[in-house]
């Protein structure tokens, strides 16, 4: 990066450190923080949407839909999330390839041959001819699907509870005004449920942040991957030889996550105050009182 870094062997002290921390692989390490933040940015809305659909399904008057919604929420809660992180990507990948193989390949050839899962080249996902970044992106997309699946179930729980917590009288009033069920959902239920959902959702956000290092298990080159790669001891054949520095890299990751959760907590506290405004809850009452005396 800097001109002086051309010959790392000649460097010492601070200059060495500066060059070391700006080397090419370190740039990839810093970029992987972006991967984590990007995953959070994509997963959180996806999980919320899935949770929303799950909660609506669990409240649906149609029995099969209700069963699906409730089973979805119940199963994911009872099983370690790691199991799903390992299961969903493979299952999804094989499901996609199986569907494609039924269309694109000879359907008479079975996909499972003993211990092998074989599809013809045309049905591979992504195609073996496609460039490297498509493979990476596909891997990340599968990871996002796994995260959204697990956290969608958690969110479905929270939102289902929150919908139940909206005072019944509010909904009855809406009925008395002659609103249709759909209007009630849209105008009364959903705007009011957020204050009840926020504690659960903020908890969920914290868990989601703390689940992001599990990306490593899915084979994504994330921050844990790079921390292990860069921290491992390097012999003098490398440009920047050093001992086993993994502990420092993981300390940095620890600091990163502590910062993330700390900042999130501050923002959540503000949102809670904002959402409590005008609500018939204790917090809302406290805000109202503070407003009138001031």
């Amino acid at each position: 990066m800097f001109a002086m870094c051309a010959d790392p062997k000649a460097l010492e002290g601070l200059a060495w450190m500066l060059c070391y921390l700006t080397s090419g692989t370190h740039m990839l390490f810093y970029a992987s923080f972006g991967t984590v933040l990007g995953l959070l940015a994509v997963t959180a809305p996806a999980a919320l949407l899935l949770g929303f659909l799950g909660a609506l399904a669990a409240r649906s008057p149609v029995a099969p839909l209700r069963w699906i919604g409730r089973t979805y929420a119940a199963i994911v809660r009872g099983v370690p999330d790691v199991v799903f992180f390992l299961f969903v990507p493979i299952a999804l990948d094989q499901g996609i390839e199986w569907l494609r193989s039924r269309v694109l390949c000879d359907p008479s050839v079975p996909v499972r041959q003993g211990n092998e899962f074989v599809v013809c080249a045309a049905a591979k996902m992504p195609l073996s001819t496609s460039p490297e970044w498509v493979h990476d992106l596909y891997g990340i997309a599968l990871a996002v699907a796994a995260f959204a699946f697990v956290f969608g179930a958690f969110a479905a729980n929270v939102l289902y509870g929150a919908m139940g917590a909206v005072p019944r009288a509010q909904l009855e009033t809406a009925e008395a005004y002659g609103m249709t069920p759909r209007q009630i959902d849209r105008r009364i239920l959903i705007p009011q449920m957020w204050t009840y959902a926020l504690p659960g959702l903020s908890n969920l956000w914290m868990i989601l942040i703390k689940a992001t290092p599990l990306l490593f298990l899915l084979g994504v080159e994330d921050i844990v991957y790079w921390a292990r790669e860069l921290g491992g001891s390097k012999t003098s054949t490398y440009a920047y030889p050093h001992g086993d520095w993994r502990v420092w890299y993981f300390l940095a990751l620890l600091g990163f996550y502590l910062g993330m959760t700390w900042v999130s907590q501050r923002i959540i506290d503000r949102m809670a105050a904002r959402l409590s405004r005008g609500q018939a809850t204790m917090a809302g009452e406290a805000i109202r009182k503070a407003g009138t005396t001031a």
Partner: protein
């Protein structure tokens, strides 16, 4: 059937190194998968039982320290809880492992005694320490919340009886604190149980393929390219054991609430995994 019994004899204790040394490589039967994955559960149970026990004691101390007026007690407790609750368990495992590996190989000399350190990098000790500290932090937060919610009337009644200090704490404050904290603590125990599956997927190596249930499940899934058998088996085992855990905690809950009329409601099955 007999073949399956033989498999159980061979692999039932494989996860702790007893029985057949080589794992099955081809022609996996359902029996083999059930046996090996079940054998791995020994580790999950070991981790959850010991870390819950040690963590419980530590969490009580931390909760009291957090509630203390003395800043020398309060600030370290707050810091400890913040660090362990604010960072991922996965990273804690990696950090602990990479720090423990740095300890000198041939032991530490302390007051003329030579303490060996190699065992600390093994999962049974290293991961147990991390899990204990982690659950202690989460439980301390739960216990602290319960401690703050002990009814004022209880304390006044204790004062009226002339109870002070340790006696008041042991007979009034602590039982009420436990009673209030128990439902949340049950959730924490379930979460911890589920978190034990992370041990062999983080830094700690499974020496001689002695791993936990998820380790064997992923072994089968990798070998057969079929995730639809091994992972549901783990899931089934975990749901069963989670129900047992809830039953166990429900017994304690009933005992804690036995003096309250109509409070012996069973704990609801709501392992909603929120810490």
């Amino acid at each position: 059937m007999n073949q399956c019994l033989q498999t159980i004899a061979d692999y039932g204790l494989r996860s702790i190194g007893i029985g057949e040394r080589l794992l099955p490589r081809t022609d996996f039967t359902l029996c083999q998968q059930f046996t090996l994955i079940g054998s791995g559960l020994i580790w999950n149970l070991y981790f959850v039982a010991l870390s819950l026990t040690f963590g419980f004691v530590l969490a009580n101390g931390l909760a009291l320290a957090k509630a203390s007026r003395n800043p020398w007690l309060r600030c370290p407790a707050n810091g400890f809880i913040f660090v362990f609750r604010g960072s991922p368990l996965f990273i804690q495992f990696f950090l602990a492992y990479s720090a423990l590996v740095l300890l000198p190989r041939d032991g530490v000399q302390l007051f003329g005694l030579s303490l060996s350190t190699g065992w600390l990098t093994r999962a049974w000790a290293g991961a147990l320490i991390v899990l204990t500290l982690n659950t202690a932090a989460y439980s301390a937060e739960i216990f602290h919340g319960a401690l703050m919610n002990v009814p004022k009337g209880d304390l006044e009644a204790a004062d009226a009886y002339g109870m002070t200090g340790w006696k008041r704490f042991r007979r009034i404050v602590w039982p009420t604190m436990m009673r209030l904290a128990w439902p949340a603590y049950t959730n924490e125990a379930i979460f911890l149980f589920h978190a034990t599956t992370l041990v062999f997927f983080s830094a700690f190596p499974a020496i001689q393929q002695m791993g936990d249930s998820l380790y064997y499940a992923s072994y089968f899934a990798d070998k057969t390219f079929n995730p639809f058998v091994a992972y549901p088996i783990v899931a089934g085992y975990f749901i069963l054991l989670t129900l047992c855990l809830i039953g166990l905690f429900g017994v304690v809950n009933r005992r804690l609430n036995r003096h309250l009329p109509g409070a012996a409601k069973p704990l609801r099955y709501r392992p909603n995994l929120f810490r």
